[in-house]
């Protein structure tokens, strides 16, 4: 008896452990406090670094000055020829035009490519050859072809958004459960009926993934195009900020770009949740 107890005492004691993060999926109130405090600390540290002159005024400005610049830029067109809202509007219109056109062309093309073999065989080679070239590399050619106005930028953005639309729609419809297709055929559905009653609905979750990637790509590419050739827009704004050595304008512009991009993604997520949640598409 004693021997067993002695042996039990020699077993390594497993200390009480905190619950691993992976086992906790809900945030608690404490987590939110930590986040708020750490963000505030970040802002204070940033402010101090600038105020104490550790980083020069031509490289970084304190957050308090960003706020004043932001309010100023809402109404004042100086020094870059447009208020913040005008720049944002220009960029948004451009990005959404390119994105919309890409969705209108890319999604149907991808779906048809995935469904109709001859189209697949015809288009896929071209697509595969063009795909490894990043859309940004098309900028010089687009400028030569279409000048430096809106068409060139719209073309680049269209191209950037087009590729993910096609790939995801294509993959989505290729992954349609073959059992469902066979069931439809057995019940006498025509090829077209099978396509739009079985194939398209089951591809929708993938299509939405593609739309999200497309939106991201078009926003990124828009910034690149505006950095290179523009007279208005958020990319132009930050480029002017650099030319004038005004970090406050650059950072306000960057944050606006980030915020607008995040807002658009959020909108798309809402649409997805409304129309394409996995509960609705049950296939």
């Amino acid at each position: 008896m004693d021997a067993i107890e002695a042996a039990a005492c020699k077993l390594p004691l497993v200390p009480r452990q905190p619950t691993p993060y992976a086992l906790k999926l809900k945030a608690s109130a404490r987590d939110n406090y930590i986040s708020i405090v750490s963000f505030a600390a970040f802002l204070v540290a940033w402010e101090l670094v600038c105020r104490l002159g550790i980083i020069g005024a031509y490289q970084l400005v304190p957050p308090s000055q960003l706020v004043t610049t932001f309010i100023m830029k809402l109404t004042n067109a100086n020094p870059d020829g447009g208020t913040l809202l005008e720049h944002t509007e220009t960029s948004l219109v451009l990005a959404l035009t390119g994105f919309g056109a890409a969705v209108l062309v890319g999604v149907p093309l991808g779906l048809f490519m995935g469904w109709y073999k001859p189209l697949d065989i015809m288009v896929t080679p071209i697509f595969d050859a063009v795909r490894p070239i990043p859309p940004i590399a098309w900028i010089p050619l687009a400028i030569i072809w279409l000048g430096i106005g809106l068409p060139a930028k719209a073309f680049i953005i269209w191209l950037a958004a087009f590729v993910p639309c096609v790939i995801n729609s294509y993959t989505g419809i290729k992954l349609t459960n073959p059992v469902l297709i066979r069931v439809a055929q057995i019940y006498g559905a025509s090829n077209w009926e099978t396509f739009y009653k079985i194939g398209v609905p089951s591809a929708i979750p993938m299509v939405f993934t593609g739309l999200k990637l497309s939106l991201n790509a078009s926003w990124t590419t828009l910034v690149a195009a505006e950095l290179l050739a523009a007279s208005q827009g958020l990319g132009y704004l930050i480029q002017m900020g650099r030319r004038l050595a005004k970090p406050d304008i650059i950072i306000v512009g960057m944050l606006t770009i980030g915020f607008t991009g995040a807002l658009m993604s959020w909108g798309l997520n809402r649409i997805e949740a409304r129309f394409a949640s996995s509960k609705r598409v049950r296939l």
Binding site: I133, I136, A224, I250
Partner: protein, 259 residues
């Protein structure tokens, strides 16, 4: 016999697709014509010329080398900092809550939007270009490492705990291997992202690199030169992706069936 057939189908398809592409390109050239869309042959001649002269004081190979060097340095830096950060964020809740807000504010800003401030901070040398690529790769590394870690199957960790694994063992023997597939998705994306970023940075302002090649073609109004540059960019991008796929197969052999 089987090997020969596999080789044939593997070689035949790409060759055919490139062939079809060139044919369509030639037709388009005949329709649109002129200098706007040069014919494949003109582009070939331009390529031969470009490889035999120096452009902006460097051979084409040197331009490729410059771009690749920037990408590789930035990519490795991004992996060395982004992966541990993302993994630790996914592992330790307090650390996650501390870092997350700042990261979430910076994350939606496209790396390309960092170009102006990078130039302001780091001048116009190698610094800003490497920085831009670094930002692009870093964000993707962090996100994927975080997701992989955060969504490790809780059952695996619970099982490890039941068998008395220490926190350390849970981390190194369970959570990190389990997050590898997600990490590897990031490894691919981060590379294509930094390849795109180096181009953008070189388009905005550089004296060397493949981005400089195509911007030079634009300035001299030479569509064939731009197209040679674009083809080089495409080939390098595709090869980088292919190399990583091989690498993934070595490191994550259990995913062979998926790729």
């Amino acid at each position: 016999m089987k090997i020969v057939r596999a080789l044939k189908s593997k070689l035949l398809l790409p060759v055919m697709s490139v062939g079809i592409c060139i044919a369509i390109w030639q037709v388009l050239h005949l329709i649109i014509g002129g200098e706007f869309l040069p014919s494949p042959y003109q582009v070939y001649r331009e390529a031969v010329r470009m490889f035999s002269v120096k452009i902006g004081g460097n051979t084409v190979w040197m331009h490729v080398y410059y771009s690749l060097r920037r990408v590789v340095i930035a990519y490795l830096l991004g992996a060395a900092t982004g992966l541990p950060l993302g993994m630790y964020m996914g592992w330790n809740r307090t650390f996650d809550k501390v870092v997350k807000p700042v990261f979430e504010v910076l994350r939606p800003i496209p790396p390309i939007a960092w170009i102006p401030i990078a130039i302001l901070w780091l001048g116009i040398g190698e610094g800003p270009k490497i920085f831009i690529c670094y930002v692009g790769a870093f964000v993707i590394f962090v996100l994927n490492a975080y997701t992989g870690m955060r969504y490790t199957d809780p059952l695996l960790i619970a099982a490890a705990r039941t068998y008395g694994a220490s926190r350390r063992q849970q981390l190194f023997n369970v959570a990190i291997p389990a997050s590898m597939p997600s990490v590897f998705a990031g490894v691919q994306n981060a590379l294509s992202m930094s390849w795109m970023c180096v181009l953008a940075a070189e388009l905005v302002g550089a004296r060397e690199g493949v981005g400089y090649l195509i911007i030079q073609g634009m300035d001299m109004y030479k569509p064939p030169m731009i197209m040679v540059g674009m083809i080089i960019i495409g080939i390098i991008g595709a090869s980088l992706a292919a190399i990583l796929r091989r690498f993934e197969r070595v490191v994550c052999p259990w995913r062979r069936d998926l790729t």
